[in-house]
């Protein structure tokens, strides 16, 4: 460890002070504002009409749609993140191998990333439309269905399709992280393992997986943070319908704030969501620090 003199430490602090102040202000101001709003009653136009303590939070907990959306958000996040990792890992392993057309394959895997999430969702909505969607046309031509199927009409299939699309759009980012991880693995130990007669599966389980673990963890935490707050897929496909059965917290938050004008409830809900995400962010930060100190 290098020793700092008091002066240079102080000087360093002064020099980064403007950045700290700016960051605290841009991050802190909205948070404080929302926290203040969440303990007041506020009208549609953002005017505060009185202090209500924790009444907004109590109202949320008493709202069955909020509670159902909360559990659904957990299912949504867990399914999309787990699915993404399970799909991305083999893809990353394949793309790491040297084969003809690997460049093209990598581009194809990355393509959904280049399209905005909303556009992606809109295209899927067209594909899934019961009356003139591509999917039904295809299935009909193949003789697999004999009439239109409304894919998004019922809660369960609609939500499962949304999860599948969530996995599809989270894949490029995750594959990128994992590819970065794979590229950083030392090749010597693989040669040594091969010399010792380890099979491909053994090499994967004993070497690749443990060495890749920090990257997988990183991918999991970052995906949790993105997916938890992911709005466009569900909003574009079903708007949380039918009967609020595909609403997650962020879509219900949007309805509360911008459709119903319940800014106070929405603020309370934002605080709840912020606290949940804070837990994951702290986990991410500690993980990042640990991997740094490990180096």
């Amino acid at each position: 460890m290098r020793r700092h003199t008091g002066v240079s430490g102080f000087l360093a602090f002064v020099m980064i002070l403007p950045s700290i102040v700016l960051t605290l202000w841009t991050v802190g101001y909205p948070v404080v504002d929302i926290a203040v709003t969440s303990i007041h009653s506020v009208n549609r136009f953002g005017r505060t009409t009185g202090f209500v303590g924790l009444a907004n939070f109590a109202a949320l907990l008493a709202d069955p749609i909020f509670v159902a959306s909360f559990w659904r958000t957990l299912i949504w996040t867990a399914s999309v993140v787990a699915g993404t990792i399970l799909v991305s890992l083999p893809i990353a392993l394949v793309l790491q191998e040297d084969f003809a057309g690997r460049g093209l394959a990598r581009v194809i895997i990355m393509l959904p990333w280049a399209i905005s999430l909303t556009m992606n969702a809109v295209v899927w909505r067209w594909i899934l439309n019961g009356q003139y969607g591509m999917l039904n046309a295809l299935l009909f031509d193949l003789g697999l269905i004999d009439g239109p199927v409304e894919w998004l009409a019922q809660a369960r299939p609609a939500f499962m399709i949304e999860i599948a699309i969530g996995i599809f759009v989270s894949m490029p980012f995750t594959v990128t992280i994992l590819l970065g991880g794979l590229a950083s693995l030392p090749s010597e130990i693989y040669e040594a393992a091969r010399v010792d007669g380890a099979s491909a599966i053994m090499r994967f389980r004993a070497l690749t997986l443990p060495l890749l673990k920090p990257f997988i963890n990183m991918a999991i935490v970052l995906n949790i943070i993105y997916v938890f707050n992911s709005f466009p897929i569900i909003w574009v496909l079903t708007q949380g319908d039918p009967a609020n059965s595909t609403d997650i917290l962020v879509t219900y938050l949007y309805k509360l704030a911008f459709r119903y004008g319940r800014l106070d409830l929405a603020a309370a809900m934002s605080i709840v969501m912020l606290l949940i995400l804070l837990v994951f962010s702290v986990a991410y930060a500690s993980m990042a620090m640990r991997s740094q100190s490990a180096e």
Partner: protein, 409 residues
């Protein structure tokens, strides 16, 4: 000397400039809803006429899409920078009135001005005896039916009652080769309205004695009827997958025999399916005739610093016979002022006549707080019923309980 002259000149220029800006300082901001690409040019035209008559005034027209309008105005109001005038959905007026952001217009209106309007059109925007908005656009919903499909099914003319409707739907299903008898909307905006038609015609009301009326016997009857239509295959399959546009597309493609929709459908059919042989009829009757009427209103904001000038703009241009006729004609709405109705274009149009005839039976969205949340609660109940996840009584009862809580928190 030269130098001083230069300074003097600069000073005069500065003075002239400031005087110039002071002269044109009266700026009126008008936020208009984007009905079509014609909307903004019409209002720009009004602005030009007004600026010509009042050179000291500048009218700034801002064109905002319906999707963003409410959020945009809410943000502007919350930020303390509302426009002077804005077009809003009439049912938003309650919030504007109760939060004291809209100016009551009664003291501005002369008798001559009030007389320009047809019958009751000023009424939907009256709250506690005060007029908070002026109607700019009016439409009324009706049944559009495919004449060819009904003829093929051996049905003579549009069904007038729900019994006739059910019989006609069955014939269409049996004889019209795969076309759907009834396009039923089951998701997104106005899913609830699609059901209110049945509720109202069966004698129900949205609000009865200060409480929700959706779980009334009329409401249960209406929901049971729609569920029966679904179960008997008289609608398109799985209505909870179809929003308003989906249902309207089915009709335009000639794949649905009957739908409920607004006057704007006439323009769409003329453009997209000009050969479609269709007719316009009232919503089938149960115990009474009813339909859904919608008006949009223009409001004057309390925070406007030039209320008199803004009002003059409304009186002299926006509600002048010339511009009213131009607007209603281009946008395809129903006449609101007498001058529009007298215009030959409207007087000689049988479709518009049929629609205008429905106006006396039209119900408007009640001016109650939390309307959007009630609409969503009703929609959720309907979706449960349509999917068969809940019985009409149970789903409507729990939605009504929720709505009662929203009416009197």
């Amino acid at each position: 000397m030269r130098l001083r002259q230069g300074w003097l000149l600069a000073g005069i220029c500065a003075l002239a400039l400031s005087a110039g800006t002071a002269h044109a300082a009266t700026e009126i901001r008008v936020v208009v809803a984007h009905y079509s690409d014609a909307t903004a040019p019409i209002f720009e035209g009004m602005a030009k006429d007004f600026e010509h008559a009042h050179p000291d005034v500048k009218i700034r027209v801002e064109d905002v899409s319906w999707d963003n309008l409410q959020q945009r105005l809410t943000t502007d109001i919350a930020g303390g920078t509302p426009p002077d005038l804005a077009i809003v959905g009439t049912r938003w007026l309650l919030d504007y009135a109760s939060q004291d952001v809209a100016e009551p217009l009664d003291s501005y209106m002369t008798q001559e001005f009030k007389d320009r309007f047809i019958g009751d059109f000023l009424k939907p925007s009256v709250i506690n005896g005060k007029t908070y908005g002026l109607p700019v656009a009016a439409s009324v919903r009706s049944m559009f039916y495919n004449k060819d499909l009904l003829a093929k099914a051996g049905v003579n003319g549009p069904p007038a009652t729900w019994d006739d409707f059910l019989a006609a739907a069955k014939s269409v299903k049996a004889k019209s080769g795969g076309a759907y008898a009834f396009g039923l909307q089951g998701k997104e905006l106005e899913t609830d309205v699609y059901w209110y038609y049945a509720l109202w015609t069966m004698g129900g009301n949205l609000i009865e004695n200060g409480k929700s009326g959706i779980a009334s016997p009329a409401g249960i009857k209406a929901a049971t009827l729609y569920k029966e239509l679904i179960d008997e295959g008289l609608t398109q399959p799985e209505p909870t997958g179809a929003n308003r546009q989906d249902v309207e597309s089915l009709f335009k493609q000639g794949r649905a025999a009957m739908i409920f929709t607004g006057p704007y459908m006439r323009g769409q059919i003329a453009k997209e399916a000009p050969t479609l042989n269709y007719g316009i009829a009232p919503i089938p009757k149960g115990t009474t005739a009813a339909t859904y009427g919608v008006t949009d209103s223009i409001v004057l904001f309390k925070d406007s610093s030039h209320k008199d000038v803004a009002w003059k703009f409304l009186e002299e241009q926006a509600f002048s016979p010339k511009w009213r006729t131009e607007f209603t004609l281009k946008e395809g709405f129903l006449p609101i002022t007498k001058a529009e109705a007298a215009d030959p274009t409207f007087a000689n149009d049988p479709g518009l006549k049929a629609l205008t005839a429905l106006l006396p039976s039209a119900r408007f969205a009640p001016l109650i707080p939390n309307w959007e949340e009630m609409a969503d609660a009703t929609m959720a109940a309907l979706q449960q019923i349509y999917l068969g996840d809940a019985k009409p009584e149970d789903a409507l009862k729990s939605a009504a309980d929720k709505i009662d809580g929203l009416i009197k928190p």
